[in-house]
Amino acid sequence: MSVTGERIPILRLGKCLLVTIQVDMHDQLAMTLQADLASAIASQESSGLLIDISALEIVDSFIGRMIANTAAMCRVLDAETVVVGMQPAVAITLVELGLTLHGIHTALNVERGMAVLEHAAAAGV
């Protein structure tokens, strides 16, 4: 398994960024992604971030914390974060684990997530 140089691609959708997590991330890859997202939000002046986790089979407390930290970072950089596509089994497991992802916007899919971000952008001044 290669470790160095691995990156998860970040796509631009208008004023928003979209990242689709399709691999079982090891911890270093998750930390790299978190840093990449903060840089991209700032350099591209994005107002929103969509994190698509529909392909993720598990979210443990480490990945949960990474998602929560990313959302907090984005908020400081004046961007909203929406986590989309969480599988039902992952949602049940997260709650049983005790991780409630408090304060993080979620949506069932990318389309609905975009609608949440557009609504937030329109409501903001």
Binding site: D24, D27, D60, Q87, T93, E96
Partner: protein, 139 residues
């Protein structure tokens, strides 16, 4: 209850880095799927294994994970054993409380993992190490 379950299949995974952890997690996932655990039970035991495996790597100074298919009567399940020779857990009762952390994390690992499995056993001796055993039975 019945006597000790029979081990039908066994494999071991090194846990020295978080890359090892990803490999071990994949092993638990594949075995859970082959055993025919439901998607929810598979998600639960892989998540629990990820929490406990990370403890071994981060707090235990590395160790090993044993993965077993066990049979007891007509029940089948997946048993995962985590062993390290780290500093041990001085206050197990506190470590099992939600929100208690020795630093860095959110303190969900041990009590959270326990909620995700059918059986959970923790033994730890200060300066000798920690052993955690979990079982998820096929329903």
């Amino acid at each position: 209850m019945s006597s000790a379950p029979i081990v039908a299949k066994q494999a071991s995974f090194q846990l020295r880095s978080t890359v090892d952890l990803a490999v071990a997690r994949r092993g638990v996932r594949d075995w859970a799927q082959n055993l025919g655990l439901s998607v929810l039970d598979l998600t639960r035991i892989v998540t629990a294994a990820s929490e406990l495996g990370r403890n071994v790597v981060v707090h235990g100074g590395g160790g090993v994970m044993h993965l077993e298919v066990v049979r007891a009567g007509d029940r089948q399940g997946l048993r995962v054993i985590f062993k390290d020779h780290g500093p041990g857990i001085p206050e197990i009762a506190r470590a099992m409380q939600d929100g208690y952390t020795s630093g860095g994390g959110m303190g969900l690992g041990l009590p959270g993992a326990k909620r995700l499995v059918n059986e959970f056993d923790l033994s730890s001796t200060p300066s000798e190490g920690t052993c955690v055993t979990i079982v998820r039975w096929k329903s």
